[in-house]
Amino acid sequence: MRLLEFDYFEAENLEDAVAHLKKYNGSCQIIAGGTDLLTALKQRLYTPACLVSLDNIPSLKNIKEENGAIFIGAMCTLEDIINSELVAKKLPALKQAAWEVGSPLLRSLATIGGNICLNTRCRFYNQSSFWRSSREKCFKAGGSICHVTNKQESCVATFSADMPPVLIAYGASVRLIGPKGTRLLPLRQFYTDNGRFPNEILTGSGEILTEIEIPTPSSQTNSTYCKFRLRNSIDFPLLGIAVLLILDKGKFCKDARIIITGAGSAPIEAVEAREKLLQQELEPQLIDAAAQIAASEIHPMRSSFVSPRYKREIAGVVLAEALEKAGGIRE
């Protein structure tokens, strides 16, 4: 399948890019690495009149630490992140997540900004236009019915990006620039939990993601990312869990964050499983109990290729593994 015609604009600065997005009034999109976008365009999921490239804006490619925070430019590739000593030392779970995205052939092109802005996915939607034409158009594709829920005007497509759960666990914020200026938004608020328009940018704000800001984790922080998929390469996560633990004396859980991808239309925080861990000593029984709670906290939908029941089962297993790893109980 070939790409349809579009205009291509290489912005020299951010103001330029914002103005261009505005000029095309919704029919214009940012292209970062293009690894997700090109497939979506071949599948005719979007038909923009113009793409705006950010390749010529070097300030979007920095990774640095300043005043107790780490800043990562939106156009840093996943390979840049894997190779960054700062990330390896201070944000090891972010390196792990980057390393598990797609394949090496994509990671040298794919950006962290594109990963954060990734659309939700659904087995009825992320298909060629020919394949999709065998059924009535679903709601997300411009029709009225959802083939997963059989309800009108609902979309429960699955959020499946690997980097955001880790970033949310680390307390990251994102800087956006748009027609109304710039704003800094906690990453968890960037997501709308709406399968059709899953983030602030996809709701049509005309904004661009420029930078990710992460408070430098304390020395008591232990973090990890565990991803489950059928093949250990190329595939999107069926489920991914980021765990961050602040451990006192190496075992008392002063604070915890558990963020899950692949289980809903946004990254989901397992709030009750976290409660279970707080102020407790991290040991196998506690881990099992927290894993069971997390499995009942998520409500995955059949927009993915495996059943919701299977995902809940897996969530417990993956969380137990992640807690053992972050707690230093296993390699």
Binding site: E5, S108, S233
Partner: protein, 152 residues
């Protein structure tokens, strides 16, 4: 929309006027006639379209050609010199790492990039390097052996 781009393909400068919506894979195969680079899935999943961009392996089906403007591209046609196969190609031949050959250009280019960065990779590092390249024939064992045979 048309755009003029400059690519250094296998060491030779090429100046081309292309449609901005062409992928690098389409430009290589259709504008330059370099059909050694294969189109498998055309959506980033199989690695048949692997080329080296500034020495790093990328899926050329998932990259707009305009984004490669000014950069060096190595395709499988750039490896053999003076009618002599490149040592990696020879090793793949000798170890039975080629059956139908559809994945071979990608596998060989990934190997080239791997050995340039890390002349002494472990088996785990070899497997990680070829993790984006699918082979339907060999079962990977011979491919890994061919690569290992190049490690001193």
């Amino acid at each position: 929309m048309k755009k003029k781009i400059r690519l250094i393909v296998n060491g030779e400068e090429k100046v081309l006027t292309i449609d901005v919506q062409q992928t690098l894979l389409e430009v290589l195969r259709e504008d330059l006639g370099l059909t050694g680079t294969k189109k498998g899935c055309n959506q980033g999943e199989c690695g048949a379209c692997t080329v080296l961009l500034e020495g790093k392996p990328v899926s050329s089906c998932s990259l707009l050609a305009v984004k490669a403007d000014g950069k060096a591209v190595t395709t499988i046609e750039g490896l053999a010199k003076g009618g002599q196969l490149h040592p990696i190609q020879q090793a793949f031949n000798e170890k039975g790492a080629i059956q139908c050959g559809f994945c071979s250009p990608g596998m060989i280019l990934v190997t080239k990039s791997l050995l340039e960065q890390n002349p002494n990779p472990t088996t785990a590092e070899i497997k990680e390097a070829i993790a984006g390249n699918i082979c339907r024939c060999t079962g990977y064992v011979q491919i890994i052996e061919a690569i290992r045979s190049l490690v001193p």
